[in-house]
């Protein structure tokens, strides 16, 4: 993984010192909240319902054990013994006192971490495929380009005050696991005539006006990428609306201009860049960054493992976990392991300090010191030998981290909702827990197969409800929580925004209603291989709406 050079280290250290001074001035009254708020937001500090929340960047979701241990320490010493992994592959601490945050940032800097660009109208943490550099179906590793984008965008003066926040995602596999088409810019790595490059999608996003991104260029060679991104950003910076917060995202601009006109303007801007403005990287620099992401040196192993096969034969629970929570690795004899943060009845994406320590230890022992956070709020050990899986599973299981549900119906994406968030209209967590309970039977879950339920507690859609196969949106109706259900969303290469099924449901009615929908799917599917989303596509939404609103 990338390691800081002296410039990175200096920038982060100076930023901590600067923010320490700003906090001191806020606490002394020299700065009032209106003056301080933009400064704290530039350092990832929000004020939520009952406390400050600190959002820490995890660039493209990759961590090492030392960094995970520091997160555990912060949870223990400055928070309430846990942290929350987010849908943008970051981590949030919910109870940190403002007076302590400079000390927390100083600890983070010790392990090459920070909270820069986790808030505000700037280019945020670039997200990626959580199996990057490990997946068998990967064409190219997206992480070097995520890192290049990170370096280009960090403190970029031209893009420090954009009309609105800006999110970029990159994937290097045919199957999009990074939801790139619902980002402001989504980059899909491609190879053409031996040249590496990117398919560029612009103007995707969720929130109150969801859009799937438009394809604006089907191939930008990698050595032109940064210039092309600058051209997009300049068109947005010039013409994005600053008069209305709700119309300020680039998706509105792309939609109002139309994708063709937007693309034309980007191409004009791209062509007009003068030589001294070009920031295309020399090949040597591209290769230098790539070198940080060289694959781990894995011992040669056969495709199959006798120890793994024997454990599966002898232990049904282990066999189930192995069927569900493993992902094919590019190297024979290895796999990527999903460490589920979705125990039944638990809090999606939360991990205690003790669990973080255990994950760090396991990453060192079995996982090449490589930990990932997924946008689905789980943790991944990217490189694990099949031979080691029985021992790894035993330790995960003992720590409550071996729930066999990756991409199954209980692997819900759930935002913090009204239990934590100052913007939320309704609670998400208890509804997610209740939905998990009705589908808790592992055999039932496996029979249902891959089905993504995503929940947001308000229209800002941090819980990605628009792109859940089944989406749940919490709304407030005269002080009472109601939940709108959507069908047909998806976040992959066939990205789509779900359609609202009808009137909202009371929270206590949601689990039963969804069970009726799922059982209708099991009746109607053409076979066990037909996923819910495909049955929905084949038959339309009506049978499922009927089931949703059918009386018990």
């Amino acid at each position: 993984m990338y390691r800081y050079d002296e410039f990175d280290a200096q920038i982060v250290k100076e930023r901590v010192a600067q923010f320490r001074g700003q906090v001191e001035r806020r606490l002394s009254g020299e700065l009032l909240e209106d003056e301080f708020k933009p400064l704290r937001l530039q350092n990832g500090v929000y004020l939520q319902l009952h406390a400050y929340m600190l959002r820490v960047a995890i660039p493209y979701g990759q961590l090492n054990a030392r960094q995970m241990r520091m997160l555990a320490r912060i949870a223990r010493e400055y928070d309430r013994n846990y942290g929350h992994f987010t849908t943008r592959q970051n981590i949030q601490f919910n109870w940190v006192a403002l007076k302590d945050i400079p000390d927390v940032l100083a600890l983070l800097a010790e392990v090459e971490m920070h909270a820069i660009q986790t808030s505000g109208n700037c280019i945020r943490n670039t997200t990626s495929d959580h199996y990057a550099g490990a997946a068998r179906d990967e064409i190219m590793d997206p992480r070097p380009w995520c890192e290049i984008i990170r370096q280009w965008s960090t403190f970029h003066p031209e893009f420090a005050f954009l009309p609105r926040k800006f999110k970029i995602a990159v994937t290097g596999a045919e199957h999009d696991r990074a939801a790139i088409r619902v980002h402001d810019i989504g980059l899909h790595m491609r190879e053409r005539d031996g040249v590496r490059g990117f398919e560029v999608h612009v103007g995707g996003g969720q929130g109150r006006t969801p859009h799937v991104a438009a394809l604006v260029n089907d191939f930008v060679p990698e050595d032109r990428l940064l210039d092309y991104l600058e051209a997009i950003m300049r068109v947005y910076n010039l013409h994005g609306r600053r008069d209305n917060k709700y119309k300020a995202r680039i998706k509105i601009l792309v939609n109002e201009l139309g994708p063709e006109e937007f693309t034309r303007q980007v191409e004009v801007e791209f062509a007009a860049q003068r030589p001294h403005e070009k920031i295309d990287l020399p090949q040597a620099e591209i290769e230098r960054i790539h070198a940080y992401f060289a694959p781990p040196e894995l011992a040669t192993k056969p495709e199959t493992s006798d120890a793994f096969e024997a454990a599966k034969a002898n232990d049904k629970a282990f066999a189930r976990w192995a069927r569900i929570n493993l992902h094919p690795h590019v190297t024979p004899g290895y796999t990527s392991v999903t460490v589920s943060l979705k125990p039944i009845g638990g809090l999606a994406g939360d991990a205690t300090d003790a669990q973080m320590e255990i994950i760090a230890n396991l990453a060192e022992t079995y996982g090449q010191d490589d930990i990932r956070v997924s946008h689905a709020q789980n943790v991944i050990l990217a490189h694990v030998a099949l031979d080691d899986l029985p021992a790894l599973y035993a330790e995960l299981d003992a720590a409550g981290l071996a729930t066999p549900n990756e991409s199954l119906i209980t692997d819900l994406i759930v935002c913090p909702g009204l239990d934590y968030c100052n913007l939320a209209n309704a609670r998400s967590i208890p509804v997610g827990q209740a939905v998990q309970q009705v589908f808790a039977d592992p055999d039932y879950q496996e029979d249902i197969g891959r089905l993504h339920i995503n929940i947001s507690g308000c229209i800002n859609a941090c819980g990605h409800h628009h792109v859940g196969h089944i989406g749940i949106l919490g709304v407030d109706k005269k002080g009472e929580e109601f939940y709108q259900i959507t069908f047909g969303g998806r976040a992959d290469e066939k990205a789509a925004i779900g359609d609202i099924a009808g009137p909202g449901l009371k929270s206590e009615d949601v689990p039963g209603a969804l069970k009726r929908v799922v059982d209708r799917y099991r009746e109607l599917r053409s076979g066990k291989d037909e996923l819910f989303i495909d049955t929905l596509g084949r038959l339309g939404h009506d049978p499922f709406k009927e089931a949703l609103y059918a009386a018990d």
Binding site: R26, L27, S28, G29, L32, E33, D34, K37, L47, Q48, L49, H50, A51, Y52, R80, N81, Y82, W95, V96, A97, L98, K99, G346, L347, D350, T352, D353, A354, L418, D419, Y420, N422, R427, I429, P430, Q433, K478, G479, E481
Partner: protein
């Protein structure tokens, strides 16, 4: 600055609530104009007196953040349309979390 919350009629009993700057803890104004973290000591105000209390709170921005009105009973109990939100602000998440989950 002030949070944008539902507007309350002048005669509706209301409390002034905010966050403590140094810690982020939720605080409420007491009847005598001090600040408390104890919900049994929430002061209820109406009419011009309430507006004066909010204005006074806004001048204390060194110690507290973002004061706003929330609806309460005459005795200072949380009530009204935002009961759930304000109850969560007062008592914490409705789910068990961290190592108690």
């Amino acid at each position: 600055m002030s949070s944008v919350r539902p507007k309350l009629k002048p005669e509706t009993p209301k409390a002034v609530t905010a966050w403590e700057t140094a810690t982020g803890r939720t605080v409420w104004m007491t009847a005598d104009g001090g600040w408390t973290t104890d919900t049994s000591k929430i002061g209820a105000f109406t009419g011009d007196a309430a507006e004066e209390r909010l204005a006074a709170a806004a001048k204390q921005e060194t110690d507290i953040n973002d004061p706003y009105f929330m609806e309460v009973t005459e005795a200072g109990g949380i009530t009204g349309r935002e009961t759930l939100r304000e109850t969560i602000r007062a008592n914490g998440p409705t789910v068990t979390y961290g190592d108690k989950a």
